[in-house]
Every structure is written in structure tokens, then in C-alpha cells.
């Protein structure tokens, strides 16, 4: 790691101010993505602004229509939340399988979606559930939030404060992990609810998480695994690596999607 300055602001406003003042600074939340990058010396931020001392950024609240998860809430907290399990079991289930137990104890929803690693799980939930990402300055619809590989609509000095998930009628997430890293090689989140029928795919896309229009259309007509029969995924925009060719990923998207629909019931 290269040396950096370290700030531990007590409020979102203070953090945003620090961030605005130093274009080379980076936010650190759980650090589960950032610290490995720093250790490999692949990034050289001038300063880390640690959100760890901001109590306002932690917590889960549930209304009749919405689950709100604040930005620095850990995956373990979401997984263990009885309210989330009740309202959107698929979300708790997804959180309970992110990384390993130690990642879940530190990693946060805000960090995960702001980083937009193409193999992360949360972006699939955000996109498929049609969530709204609240930041230090505005609200961003999920469809506008993920803009590309490791890229989001966030401005350089903008901080994710919470994510609002509309409670769906049905939803499920199924993933096929990379055998080595255990990150999603293909993960499919399907949802039917106030935002319509939505299918989001993570792990597979060369540009990060994406919605699967053909599957959404088929499921909107008939919510059943059989409805997905024969729907293929064009391979050309998918990732390829030593573990899975783009053709294999395309195939797995179909299998995971059917399983997700079956699981959602």
C-alpha cells in the first residue's frame, strides 16, 4: 500500500466536504473492495475518508411499501434482519451469501454499489427491485445508477446514504459462484412488484450489471420458469475468463434465471 492521509469525519456533510476538497481522496466504508486494491498498489489515493464513525449511516427501516437500508449497513446486518427477511426475503438471502462471513461483517451496501464490481451481488438486487439510491445530494433511480464497469452515476464528491427497495410481490436471487474467488460468475435476480417484472444479471456482463429485456418480457406474460424456455442471452457483451467462457456464462444466465423464478414461487 502507498501511504495516504486518513480522515474519520463524524457526519455525512463533513465527509462530503473533505471529499470535495481533495479530488484524489477516496471514501472507505467496509473496505472489502478498496483495501485489497490498495494492497495490490493498484490505486494511490491521497487520502481515505472513513465513513466508519458516522452513526447516521447505519440502520434498516421498513414501511408497508419500502425497505430502506442505510449506506454503511453491513451485509451481515441485512442478512440477520428479521424485518428484511419478512419484507424482502430475497434481499436478506442475497446478503447472507455475499463473500464470506468476514466480508459480510465488514462490507456495506453503499460500498458495494458505489464500487460496482461486475461480480458483486447487491447491484443485481438494486436493479431488479427498481431501488432508489439516495445520496448526499439527490436520489438516483437504479436504472440510472450503474453506468458501466466500476462506474456509477455518482459524482466524485457524492456519498451513498441509503437505498430504498420497493417491496416486491415475488423475488429471488440465484448465483453460480466463481469456483476460486466465490464471487458471482453469474447471478440473476428476478422480481415482480410495483416496478413491474424485472430481471437483473450480475457477474456476467462486460459492462457490469444489466437488465435482461427478453426475460422480463416473457415473465411479464407468464411468471414461470417455463416461460424462459428458449430465451437465450447474446454472448458478445459477456465476460470471458479462465473459469467461464461467454457462451458458458450465457447458458448459466438461463439456468440461474429459471431457478430464481422457481425459487420466487
Amino acid at each position: 500500500m502507498y501511504e495516504f492521509a486518513y480522515h474519520r469525519p463524524a457526519s455525512v456533510a463533513e465527509a462530503a466536504k473533505l471529499l470535495a476538497a481533495d479530488p484524489e481522496a477516496k471514501l472507505i466504508s467496509g473496505g472489502m473492495s478498496l483495501i485489497p486494491v490498495l494492497k495490490q498498489r493498484l490505486a494511490r489515493p491521497s487520502a481515505l475518508i472513513d465513513l466508519g464513525a458516522i452513526p447516521d449511516l447505519v440502520g434498516i427501516s421498513v414501511t408497508a411499501t419500502t425497505v430502506t437500508v442505510k449506506g454503511r449497513t453491513t451485509h451481515a446486518a441485512v442478512a440477520a434482519s428479521a424485518e428484511v427477511r419478512q419484507a424482502i426475503p430475497a434481499l436478506a438471502e442475497l446478503a447472507s451469501h455475499i463473500g464470506d462471513a468476514q466480508v459480510r461483517n465488514r462490507g456495506t451496501i453503499g460500498g458495494s454499489i458505489a464500487h460496482h464490481d461486475p461480480t458483486a451481488d447487491y447491484p443485481a438486487a438494486v436493479l431488479a427491485l427498481g431501488a432508489t439510491v439516495n445520496t448526499s445530494r439527490r436520489s438516483i433511480a437504479a436504472d440510472d445508477f450503474f453506468t458501466g464497469l466500476f462506474a456509477t452515476a455518482l459524482e466524485p464528491d457524492e456519498i451513498v446514504t441509503a437505498v430504498d427497495f420497493p417491496i416486491p410481490e415475488k423475488a429471488a436471487y440465484v448465483k453460480f459462484p466463481n469456483p476460486a474467488s466465490r464471487y458471482a460468475m453469474v447471478g440473476v435476480f428476478v422480481a415482480k412488484g410495483p416496478m413491474g417484472v424485472r430481471v437483473a444479471v450480475t457477474g456476467a456482463g462486460a459492462n457490469g450489471v444489466f437488465r435482461h429485456a427478453a426475460m422480463e418480457e416473457a415473465l411479464a406474460k407468464s411468471w414461470s420458469p417455463e416461460a424462459l424456455e428458449g430465451i437465450t442471452t447474446p454472448a458478445e457483451h459477456l465476460n470471458t475468463d479462465i473459469h467461464a467462457s461467454r457462451e458458458y456464462r450465457a447458458h448459466l444466465i438461463g439456468v440461474m434465471a429459471k431457478r430464481a423464478v422457481a425459487k420466487a414461487g
Partner: protein
């Protein structure tokens, strides 16, 4: 205190320190005024070094020194030696190009060490390492054996055109050709034995220290054989006489072969400590381990088995290409020859065998022994070939094995590939394994799995290995540049407690417990009175270390021999004290007794007399009670067994789950059943890893694509099943304990059983063989092709 002797599952004594965080691994050692080394490594597979500018690094904060290959050459530092010379078919020696400690002129693999930066802190050394500017002339790389053997291929070593290290053979070619000519059936197989990266959990580490007052050097290192390192590094690399060089291998976090070899970093820190007059420490990052620890396996083989109409094996013909990597690691040449081709008889009576092995240099990390070393490669090809022969002849897989087993009354059995097996009962291990695995009711489980939409298969392997390495005269005639005996020194202390110094090294095997059980058994003393010391050349007289499942068979035998000497001397002392003739003294349960009387002396009384020789036969016997034995084995030992695996495949994704695994092994006499089971289970997990998960992947440019645990699939807890282990023992006939060895059986026996199960599960898809690792992607391709073929029909 329960029974602690031979056959008891005594809980391990070493565990208390490991479980409380008080182990002492090399990286836990910090010497006063210690500096930190970071190695600058080649990012290229093959490149000439046009120039190295160290000036910016040299002036970076905290930097003490920067050294390159030129600095070492200027001091006439030798290259890393190879410990085994294999000869070509025509009797000429193998190509043995130099292996500089730090690259000189050019680099030959990604990770090849080029320079070392030594600084006050590790972070400063790393910061400065980035400031070293190297001007490269990147050369085309020979990243695979296929590429290296092409006409006009880049030469890894300029003086080895064609990149062939040796072209070797073993067996009777004429007899094999004749047998093939009259064969009723020939089964053929081409296969790849996948390259593995050992990944012991403790990364390598070395700390060098120089004492200016005495001129003594000390190296603490993550080694399986500190005396071998002292010999190789002192004599061949740094020119430090052995009496001025101490090598300590403290607690070592797993080895699996990868910590046998003498590595560049050991020489670098020792040499630098002398130059700087400060202790120097180097610790590998895991990413660094991937490109600097010796890799394992990596064979490409064509094999043919000739059979008669009854499925009896007539002859075996094998042609193998073996990857050496860019340099010859310490024992690399013997792995695909004397540890491989000599095992091609397996447990079968195949009368004629001929094997040709071509060893090839490539622009990859050196390849050397990894758990099993040569024997897993031989076993995999043989057992896969036997399965294919059975399939193609319509003979049951178990039956074809039975028809060809060496019968239990045929021992000692001379194979056509040099080895003489001393004992075994292959029908018995097979029968017990079949029973334990419920082989007969498998079809019910297959049908039940099918109802759940899963493809279930079962696989079997009946393997043998040669271990307990090894008779010195034999290995010497085969090219070893060292003896392979083992050493034990037993020091009985005045009050009767016992300190045992062994030349073997424990890095997980539990010697501190097993060897103490041996001593407790021999001397009738509680284990609490016994200390086992290993891993320090300043304490242990000599030793060849631990690998090839040799510790108990060779090191344990040395302990027995030294014990015999102690008891013989102690009896003479006891005879004097008891005023009896030495022939009349019995020693049992820690008491010396005049036979048939109640006149006794305890072991402690006799020990005390040896050190306080007031009433002592001083004219005939020296005082003291300490003996040393060097034990050179008469033969290898031959553990054998049967492994049975059941898998289920998800036909939609290709994912394989190992659902049952049964191993029944003949490891000779068992001293501690708990430890033996643990060794087998660990080996099986590595075998499952090779079969389903692990593989080292280089791209065409020689870049390592599986270069971290993010891409190299290490088996995790949910990748492996509950592993059922049994033993069916025959005694080794030529060592005093009757032991054979258990460290490698799992890694040898498991892979063909797993792949056999996968192939069996896919039997409706026209598959006869699948190369390792059988990943979900590889299986999905087979399933997909099968479905497309079916659709087309």
C-alpha cells in the same frame, strides 16, 4: 494417562502451542536490528536485461542496499544446484543450464528474481523496489511444452537449443513391441496431468543473520529439510563451510514438497546479512508464492495398454512430456523418471513395460515434486487406462482389476520397471473398500439421484506408490547426488528423561507425537518424559528431511536403531548394578530385571548411573547414555490401497459434487491411527482438488493467469465431502517397524477415482475420459455437445 504406545490415537502434543497462537513460524522470528528484503521480479516470461538503474531505489527513504545479479557474480556466488542427474537414452547426461540466484543477462519466467532491495521496513523496501528501472528486451516465450518443442522455438537457455533437458527411457522396448504385436485388444489414452501450485498455507520466508564476532551464519527458513539446505547453499552457492552455517526450520506451515528445494531467497538473505552485518528477513506475499514456489505435475502423455482376450494386461507403452519449467529445481529431474515410470506396473502383473520421458524447458516457474510427485501421474494414467480397457472390452471395472492384481503370495514381486515390492494384499484392500463404499448397491443410488435430476457416478482406483525414500546406493546409481538415509540421536538425560534429535522435519505430520509414542513404547516411559527435536542443524547431527512419506519408515527406523543401541548399553550398566550377566537382563516396561528374579533397576536409575558413574563398569563402558544411528533403508516401501468416489453432476450447470469418498489403504503398521486418518483425508482433499478444481494456467506469452487465490481454485470446506478412511495392513518386511507411509496416498489414489466417477456419471454422453480438472465448464461443454448430438440424431 491412557495407553500411549504403538496403535494409540494419542492427541497431538504440538497442538497446544498451535491452538494458543504460540507456534514459532519463520515469519514470527524477528532478530534485533533486522532489515527487510523485497525481491524485484521479472514481469516478463522471457526477456533480456538491457540495463538496471538502481540509483533512485538506492536513495529512497530507509533503503540500506540494493543488489543485482551482477553484484553476486562479482563475488563468485554460485548458481542454485540441482540434486539429481538423469541420463539420456544414449547415456549422456541431461542438459543442466545454470540457475543464477539473481538473474544475469536474461529472465526466463514471470517471477524470476532480478534484484533485491533491503530497507529498514518492509513498506520502505517495497516503495523503493518500484523505483528500480529495468530496460527490457522482451523475447518471444516458450510458454508451453508444445511451443517449446516447435522447430525454431525460442531457447529458454541459449545453450540448450530445442529446449530438451533429457530424453530418457525405462523398460524393455522389444518385449513391449512383441507383446503389442500379439495383443487381442489395445486400449489407448492421451491425457494431460494438470499443473498444480502447491499453496502450503504458510508462504515461504527466510531470515539470514551473520555474527561478526564468530563469523557464523544462521538461516531460519521454511524448509522441509534444513540439513539439505545447509549442504546445498553452503557448499554450492555461498561457499560457507557447514560448521559456520546453521540452518533452522522452525514450525513450518505445510510443505507438500514445495519447501524441499533450495530457493534463491534463502541464499539472498544469508549473503546479504553477511554483507550488511545485519539480519535480513524476506517473507513471500501469496501472489509472489504463485510465481516463485516450485509448481507440480504438468505432464502430457500418450499411453497404450495391450490386453489378451480375457482382459489380462500384456504390455504397457507410455510416452510422456514433462515440463521442467525454466530452471531445474532441486529434485525436478527425478520426478517424471524414477518416481514416475518405475510405478507404471501399479498393482498389476503387466509383464512388459516401456516408458519414454522427454523433459522440456519452458518459460514458466520451475516444476518439482508436489505431494505424491510422479506417483500420482503414473497412477492417474494407469488407472484411467484400466478403466478405458474395461469399458472397451465390456469387462467390469472391478473384475478387470482383480484379474490383473499381483497375488498376495507373489511377494517379493519384481516388476519390469525396476522396483521390487515387498508386501501387499490388493484383493483385501479392494474388498474392504468395496464393502465400506457399498459398491454393490450403487445403482440404487444412481437411480435415486436421477429422480432428483442429478447424474450420479462411481469411480475406483487401486493404486500403489513407492515411498520411504530411499536406499542410498539405489538412488545414487540412478543419479541422486545425495544419500537418502535418516539420522536419529537419542540422548537419555541423567534423570531418565529422553531427548530425541531427528533429521526428519515435521510441518504438520505430528512427529512430536508419533515419535514420542515410539520412544514411550520402546523405553516404557511416559510420553511426558520424551522430547522430540527437529529442524535445527545446530542440534540434530544430520538428516535428509521429510518428503516422500519417509519420516516414519526411514526416520522412525533410525530412532528404533538408536533405541536398540541405548538399550544394549543400558543393559550392560544394569547388569553391573545388579551384579548379573548381561545375557540375563531383560528390559520391559521401563525396568531392567535379572531374568526370573525380582531384582530390578528402573530406567531412571540406570540413566543416573551412566551420568554419575560411581558404581560403574568404567573399564568397559564409557559414561553417559547417548547414541546415534544412521539408517539407510534396504528398499522403498510400497503403500497401496483402493479409493472409491461417488459424484453427482448437475446436468444443467455441469457442476460436480463429491458425495462420498472411501479410502482403504495399506500403510503398513499404524502407530497413531488418528494421525494416519488425518494424513489420508488431507491427501484426498488435494487429490479432489487436482481432479476437480485446481489448475495452473499460463497464456501464450507466459503470463500466469491463475496467479492468485482469486483464480487458482483452492479446495474449500464445502468442496470436499466427509472422507471415510480405513486401513487394511500388511507389514513392510524390511524396516524394523513394518511401516510403509501415509502422507501421499490420498493425493495419489484419489484423482483417478474422482475422474472415474465423473466419466461414469456421464456414461450416456459417450465420454471415455475427461482431463483434470473436471470443472463445471468442461463438463457443461461435454453435456452440451452430447445434447446437440442427440438432438441431431
Amino acid at each position: 494417562m491412557g495407553y500411549e504406545g504403538i496403535g494409540a490415537s494419542v492427541r497431538r502434543r504440538e497442538d497446544l502451542r498451535f491452538l494458543s497462537g504460540r507456534g514459532t513460524y519463520t515469519d514470527d522470528i524477528n532478530r534485533p536490528h533486522q532489515a527487510y528484503a523485497v525481491i524485484v521480479r521479472s514481469p516478463h516470461a522471457h526477456a533480456r536485461i538491457r540495463g538496471i538503474d538502481i540509483s533512485a531505489a538506492r536513495s529512497a527513504p530507509g533503503v540500506i542496499a540494493v543488489f543485482t545479479g551482477a553484484d553476486m557474480a562479482a563475488e563468485k556466488i554460485g548458481g542454485l544446484p540441482c540434486g539429481w542427474q538423469v541420463k539420456n537414452k544414449d547415456g549422456t547426461p541431461m542438459a543442466e543450464p545454470p540457475h543464477p540466484v539473481l538473474a544475469i543477462g536474461k529472465v526466463r519466467h514471470v517471477g524470476d528474481p532480478v534484484a533485491v532491495v533491503i530497507a529498514e521496513t518492509k513498506a520502505q523496501a517495497r516503495d523503493a523496489a518500484e523505483r528500480i528501472a529495468i530496460e527490457w528486451e522482451v523475447l518471444p516465450a516458450a510458454a508451453t511444452m508444445e511451443a517449446a518443442l516447435q522447430p525454431g522455438a525460442p531457447s529458454v537457455h541459449d545453450d540448450v537449443p530445442g529446449n530438451v533437458c533429457y530424453d530418457w527411457h525405462l523398460g524393455d522396448k522389444a518385449a513391449v513391441d512383441a507383446a503389442f504385436a500379439k495383443a487381442c485388444k489395445v486400449a489407448r489414452l492421451e491425457l494431460v496431468n494438470n499443473r498444480l501450485i502447491p499453496n502450503a498455507m504458510e508462504p515461504r520466508c527466510a531470515v539470514g543473520e551473520y555474527d561478526a564476532a564468530t563469523g557464523d551464519y544462521t538461516l531460519w527458513t521454511t524448509s522441509q529439510n534444513p540439513h539439505v539446505i545447509r549442504l546445498l547453499m553452503g557448499a554450492f552457492v555461498l561457499n560457507i563451510p557447514e560448521h559456520k552455517l546453521r540452518v533452522v526450520a522452525p514450525d513450518v506451515g505445510g510443505g507438500f514438497g514445495s519447501k524441499i528445494y533450495h530457493y534463491a531467497e534463502e541464499a539472498i538473505v544469508t549473503w546479504a546479512a553477511g554483507k550488511l552485518k545485519r539480519p535480513v528477513k524476506w517473507t513471500a506475499d501469496r501472489t509472489e508464492s504463485f510465481t516463485s514456489d516450485a509448481h507440480g505435475r504438468d505432464h502430457v502423455t500418450e499411453a497404450e495398454l495391450a490386453l489378451d482376450d480375457q482382459g489380462r494386461f500384456l504390455a504397457l507403452r507410455v510416452r510422456t512430456l514433462a515440463n521442467m519449467g525454466a530452471y531445474l529445481s532441486t529434485f525436478a529431474p527425478c520426478v517424471p523418471t524414477y518416481l514416475y515410470a518405475t510405478l507404471l506396473a501399479g498393482v498389476y502383473t503387466t509383464p512388459a513395460i516401456y516408458a519414454e520421458v522427454k523433459a522440456v524447458f519452458t518459460n514458466t516457474v520451475p516444476v518439482d515434486a508436489y505431494r505424491g510427485a510422479g506417483r500420482p501421474e503414473a497412477t492417474f494414467l494407469l488407472e484411467r487406462l484400466v478403466d478405458i480397457a474395461a469399458l472397451e472390452m465390456g469387462i467390469d471395472r472391478v473384475e478387470i482389476r482383480r484379474r490383473n492384481f499381483i497375488p498376495k503370495d507373489a511377494f517379493p514381486y519384481q516388476t519390469p520397471v525396476a522396483l521390487q515390492y515387498d508386501s501387499g494384499d490388493y484383493h483385501r484392500t479392494l474388498d474392504e473398500a468395496l464393502k465400506a463404499a457399498n459398491w454393490d448397491t450403487f445403482e440404487q443410488r444412481r437411480a435415486e439421484a436421477a429422480r432428483r435430476g442429478k447424474l450420479r457416478g462411481i469411480g475406483i482406483s487401486t493404486y500403489i506408490e513407492a515411498c520411504g525414500i530411499a536406499p542410498s546406493a539405489v538412488v545414487g546409481s540412478l543419479g541422486a547426488r545425495a544419500g537418502l538415509y535418516e539420522v536419529a540421536n537419542i540422548r537419555v538425560n541423567p534423570t531418565g528423561s529422553i531427548t530425541v534429535f531427528t533429521g526428519t522435519h515435521s510441518h504438520g505430520q505430528g512427529h512430536e507425537t508419533t515419535f514420542a509414542q515410539l520412544i514411550a513404547d520402546r523405553f516404557g516411559v511416559p510420553m511426558s518424559q520424551v522430547e522430540i527435536v527437529h529442524g535445527d542443524t545446530a542440534k540434530v547431527p544430520f538428516g535428509m528431511g521429510t518428503y516422500g512419506s519417509r519420516s516414519l519408515a526411514v526416520g522412525g527406523s533410525a530412532i528404533v536403531r538408536a533405541s536398540d543401541k541405548i538399550i544394549a548399553k543400558a543393559k550392560r550398566i544394569a547388569a553391573h548394578l545388579l551384579e548379573a550377566s548381561v545375557e540375563d537382563i531383560d528390559f520391559k516396561d521401563g525396568m531392567f530385571r535379572v531374568a526370573g528374579t525380582d531384582r530390578v533397576k528402573s530406567f531412571a536409575e540406570v540413566s543416573l548411573a551412566a551420568y554419575v558413574p560411581h558404581n560403574y563398569p568404567i573399564e568397559e563402558l564409557e559414561p553417559g547414555l547417548e547414541e546415534t544411528a544412521f539408517y539407510d533403508p534396504k528398499n522403498f516401501t510400497f503403500p497401496a490401497g483402493c479409493h472409491i468416489c461417488e459424484v453427482e453432476i448437475d446436468p444443467e450447470t455441469g457442476e460436480v459434487e463429491v458425495v462420498n469418498f472411501t479410502a482403504v489403504d495399506d500403510v503398513g503398521r499404524v502407530i497413531n491411527p488418528m494421525i494416519v486418518e488425518g494424513q489420508v483425508q488431507g491427501g484426498v482433499a488435494q487429490g479432489i482438488g487436482q481432479a476437480l478444481l485446481e489448475t495452473c494456467v499460463y497464456d501464450e506469452a507466459g503470463q500466469l493467469l491463475s496467479g492468485s487465490m482469486m483464480d487458482y481454485t483452492m479446495p474449500r470446506a464445502d468442496d470436499v465431502p466427509c472422507i471415510q478412511v480405513g486401513t487394511a495392513v500388511t507389514m513392510c518386511t524390511h524396516n524394523p517397524l513394518g511401516v510403509k507411509g501415509c502422507g501421499e496416498v490420498g493425493a495419489i489414489g484419489a484423482p483417478p477415482a474422482v475422474i472415474g466417477a465423473v466419466v461414469d456419471a456421464l456414461r450416456d454422453y459417450g465420454v471415455r475420459h475427461i482431463d483434470m480438472p473436471a470443472t463445471s465448464q468442461r463438463i457443461w461443454r461435454i453435456l452440451d455437445a452430447g445434447r446437440q448430438r442427440l438432438a441431431a440424431e
